[in-house]
Subunit: 342 residues, 2 copies
């Protein structure tokens, strides 16, 4: 087909613009090294709600409506909402979508959801199916702990390879270029998407998600380079997320074995969002909201300011569940890549 290049990559010919991006993060994320880039830092990680789950929906709603407002649009202008999250039955996204009245495709890609939703949003716009699409995701430390690990009240200890689920939501509004009235405005656009396969290297320890997801990140990165003919140095920055410090080191080494040296341009959203020593966050951040808030906060602002002009965002997801882990299953990973340029 005319838009495919290589095995896993699609060229997004019409370069859909990301006309707005909004990041809302929790108090702890707001104390981290990226605090100046976030649009809103919550004072209370319950955001005035009665439960962590309701809080997560409430700040995802803030991120989405914030992005729509920033774009000068109304909910009614948006043709599709693409969203997902970590909670069972993706309730954060579902209950947020209930309050928005926008046609909704629910996704589940675990922490790869930001790049997954951006990929499908690009396709909807490039294919002529939509004028405006919202791509969004969220996660919450406390709702994730309760569901995947232990309720906070247990005070359970963490392994050294553990990452902390980021309390955050990120949302972007994508638009076809023909819809931008002010032709002098320049926005970041999506040029390529590389869709990942599920990779499983037999990691049994669900606390070691960086190691479980690294092979998926490497596979998608390798396929992106091969399919597009680009090299790591084409990009100002390559951001995986959320592999954390341990997964980032594995990725750097593994991709070198495929002949690509990414060390000059590569970082991981999970490694960037916390100061692990000061904030006691072990191996960095994780969760759908991690790559979402780093992409919508740090990356988008750096691109609008012209400090970054070519970026490859590779959101990574660990696709296990507690039930699968109890049944002795290993942790499969997936990674989707989106090339963003300005």
């Amino acid at each position: 087909m005319r838009k495919r290049t290589g095995k896993q990559t699609v060229r997004i010919e019409s370069h859909p613009y990301i006309i707005s991006a909004r990041s809302v993060v929790g108090p702890k994320e707001g104390e981290g090294p990226l605090h100046e880039y976030f649009d809103e830092i919550l004072k209370d990680d319950k955001n005035g709600q009665k439960s962590f789950e309701k809080a997560e929906s409430s700040f995802m709603y803030k991120a989405i409506t914030g992005a729509i407002n920033e774009a000068g649009l109304k909910n009614d202008d948006i043709n599709y909402l693409l969203a997902g999250d970590l909670l069972n039955q993706t309730i954060s996204s579902n209950y947020t979508a209930r309050d928005l009245e926008i046609p909704y495709f629910g996704l589940y890609g675990a922490c790869s959801t930001m790049a997954e939703s951006l990929s499908l949003a690009s396709i909807l716009i490039d294919g002529g199916f939509a004028d405006y699409v919202v791509a969004a995701t969220s996660s919450h430390f406390s709702s994730a702990e309760r569901q995947y690990r232990f309720p906070l009240e247990y005070g359970s200890q963490k392994a050294e390879c553990t990452q902390r689920t980021v309390t955050a939501s990120g949302a972007m509004v994508l638009a076809s270029q023909s819809n931008i009235e002010d032709k002098s405005r320049v926005y970041p656009y999506i040029s390529y998407i590389t869709t990942g396969k599920v990779k499983d290297y037999g990691i049994l320890d669900s606390a070691n998600m960086g190691a479980a997801m690294a092979p998926a990140a490497v596979d998608t990165m390798y396929n992106h380079f091969r399919d597009t003919g680009r090299n790591p140095d084409y990009y100002d920055v390559i951001l995986t997320g959320d592999l954390g410090n341990f997964g980032r080191d594995i990725t750097t080494k593994l991709i070198k074995e495929y002949g690509y040296d990414v060390s000059n341009v590569y970082n991981d959203c999970g490694s960037m969002i916390f100061n692990d020593d000061e904030q006691n966050t072990k191996c960095g951040g994780s969760g759908c909201g991690c790559s979402a808030s780093v992409a919508c906060g740090y990356l988008y602002k750096k691109m609008i300011d012209g400090e970054i002009t070519k970026a490859l965002l590779i959101s990574t997801g660990a696709l296990m569940s507690p039930t699968a882990t109890y049944q002795g299953e290993t942790v499969p990973g997936i990674a989707h890549a989106v090339a963003i340029e300005i």
Copy 2:
């Protein structure tokens, strides 16, 4: 945009063909009124696996690889797999995708997943992003009971409005017409998709999913008619799934209030799959596998045989989780419609 018609509908101009469909169902579904239409009826609802969850993955794998084989293709020919299911973190789909080596977009639409995956598959092909796409979903009575209600061992009683989660998987392979070498072959194709919004009419009883989902089905149905200018009588059959008997009756009445009489052509996949009196299935079937197996089994075969030439499939999903229900949340619903013609 050129492909949009009305608020929620897209015209799929290139008419992507559904070149194969495969349905695999459990023993109880195989004893129901549609038994002759299913491609494979399992003798054992564990399918030789150690858990219900692993069984669900194993028969989803059967449905997907069966559909790919039937189309005369290999896994490597498929550009995208679009799949989702009911289990926490959609593990049935994730672990199936792990064994397939196909680029994978994970979805969560609860029981609306079959129409959601068909919608996005049509978009990928019509937009020129893919040659071949697989759309698939699954559910399992016993894995769903354990997760949403009570383990089977408790022997809990059922309310009269309860539906039985269908043990089944369905998968379809979609292809662009330009990829069909034998031009004399005729297949069902997708002509329109109408994407649903989340609707919530305040149903608090999560055992009464038909009532919770009916308003979403009605909303999507109404928008489909309005956007396309079609009337119910355009279709030989309109199938919702899985509203069950109670939800079907509500839908028939509600859509009449919008001026559309569907009574001549309308049925519900959940009402069709069991003989409720003989099989003690209360209000009919539910689960992602319900509309999937009825669409891939009954509907696809009736269309290939020419008995049905115009169908509207409206898969419906209840988007709650047990956690949301415990926290006092109501049950939101969503419905996606796909027009299939031959």
